[in-house]
Symmetry: C2
Subunit: 300 residues, 2 copies
DNA sequence: CATCGGCCATACCCCCAGGGTATATCGCTC
DNA sequence: GAGCGATATACCCTGGGGGTATGGCCGATG
């Protein structure tokens, strides 16, 4: 019994995220009644009420919330299974490794070169991916490895730190804190700081500098999606930010000053792969990449 | 397209592990032809040949091997989803935490007490589980947390070390190394050491002491399944072993002597939970349990 | 070398679960 | 109370998943 099927989970996810059976049916390309039946059947199988219905739609019960989270895991795992199996079938299985734009042209080539120097090295393919999607690509099995930046914690991923660099404060020119003194993160806690959209609690803590120095001050500041926006809002005087030194070097401009922050944790780039992978080539790559490690990485 | 269904994965797993369509059909309680068709269909959907057939059965191709591994992940995730959802539906969701026999009566009660002392603490249920099945219970969603022993690495699990203790050498009375000198793991590498059955490479490395001092000497020694067997084979002079100090204290007997091993890594008990869990109670439990942490745990 | 036995693939049939359409029912709004 | 926008129910139909029978292949066996 309780032989849940993927179709039911896909349906449930659609319904729970849409908040409506009829809308979900539309996006699934099917009629509403069978969907209604399928969800009821899923509830019967689990013996659990998953949705509260009323006349304006549906909303997940607590049990439904957990099923929704678990469903994401399952569907990720399925997608990963399909991708990995297909990739494994190719004659010369290629190791696919990804990174976001900046890292892809700096750290990644060094790591790839280190791997290619191994006697047992195979083909490597580099995929440049968008901001924040590296972990998903690994989980979905579309890539074998990803270089990700701090904070180095991804659910379901194993991570090995590679290289680190200090973080510095980015201040609008003429800001009160820009007078030349060295700063501490506590100085920044009372200032508005940019908020990355869709960020996890860990990311919020890390980018606000609260990973080393906790603070209960409210988090304020303009929402941003990428580092170009970050530079803009700082230049406009809307916020101060804690940024990797390399970003500071790449964005020297008269309306922004950068200052060291003594007690900020460093920005670390690490290599991540699916937790528990037994793939020989993945292990080789990680080992080769680790030879790039510098001492700063320890403090991640 | 490529809408793989769980039924197909369950079938594939059965076939791949049985090594035969007809035997798998029997264990699945169905006839062989539909199974054959289902597998062919799965291969068509993936566009990948999964099995090599011959007249004496089937064996997985490399792609089939990866699919088999991925299938385990998927089915684990599904089972976890079902269990967690059902548990979440109960009125007062109980936090279920497990440990193997020894740990369940020593470290676990202390951790549970620390959690119960929290103002927001809820119900806690303790489940005593068998050797080596703790990680599976967490992955399958049957428990929320597990106390596991070194080596603290479980695929798909997050682990926080709690308490550690040194490991000592267990030697047959009269053994050449039992003359009172302090030992190093290198001394043990040339001796036969018990081999845990079904152990992962990490476990083999850890229990042979090769995690701190590598060695290429062949691994020899009698297979064992639990610590009672371990004590027996040492007492009989068939092997020497590296064991936690607490096990040594619990098994004082005239035909075994225990000796410190200076450079052996400690035995650490940690609390493990599903990687990336955002469950409030799980986080509370881990935080409460961490207050038990002692300095030795750092070296895990 | 003819036979047999085990195994997988194919052919063919049947039935039901999953999907469609039509409609009932329920709350809210105006 | 009429209308609207939801979900649930009733009923039908079809595709595919499962069954049985059988064919083809290969190695073992006398």
């Amino acid at each position: 019994m309780a032989d849940v099927e993927l179709r039911e989970l896909r349906y449930f996810r659609a319904v729970a995220t849409e908040g409506s059976l009829s809308r979900a049916a539309a996006t699934l390309g099917m009629a509403q009644p069978p969907l209604s039946r399928a969800i009821s059947q899923l509830e019967r199988r689990l013996g659990v009420r998953l949705l509260d219905r009323d006349n304006r739609g549906v909303s997940p019960t607590p049990a439904g919330e957990t099923l929704l989270a678990e469903t994401a895991r399952v569907l990720d795992a399925v997608s990963a299974a399909v991708h990995r199996t297909r990739r494994a079938a190719r004659a010369n299985p290629t190791l696919v490794v990804t990174a976001k734009p900046g890292v892809a042209s700096t750290v990644l080539p060094r790591a790839v070169d280190a791997y290619r120097a191994l006697p047992a090295a195979g083909e490597v393919e580099i995929l440049v991916s968008g901001y924040g999607e590296q972990a998903d690509l690994v989980r979905a099995g579309e890539v074998d490895l990803a270089l990700i930046g701090s904070p180095l914690h991804g659910a379901g991923l194993d991570v090995e730190p590679l290289v680190g660099e200090p973080r510095v404060a980015a201040l609008p020119a003429g800001h009160a804190l820009a007078d030349g003194r060295a700063l501490t993160v506590a100085d920044l806690h009372r200032e508005p700081m940019p908020q990355w959209t869709d960020s996890t609690p860990e990311e919020v803590t890390y980018w606000s500098g609260r990973d080393t120095v906790p603070s209960s001050a409210p988090l304020t500041g303009p929402p941003i999606r990428d580092s170009a926006q970050l530079v803009e809002v700082v230049a406009l005087g809307q916020a101060v930010a804690l940024v990797p030194e390399s970003l500071a070097r790449a964005n020297q401009r008269p309306d922004i000053v950068y200052r060291p922050v003594r007690d900020a944790s460093p920005y670390v780039v690490g290599v991540a792969w699916l937790a528990g992978s037994r793939d020989r080539r993945v292990a080789d790559f990680v080992r080769a990449a680790s030879t790039l490690a510098d001492p700063l990485a320890e403090t991640a």
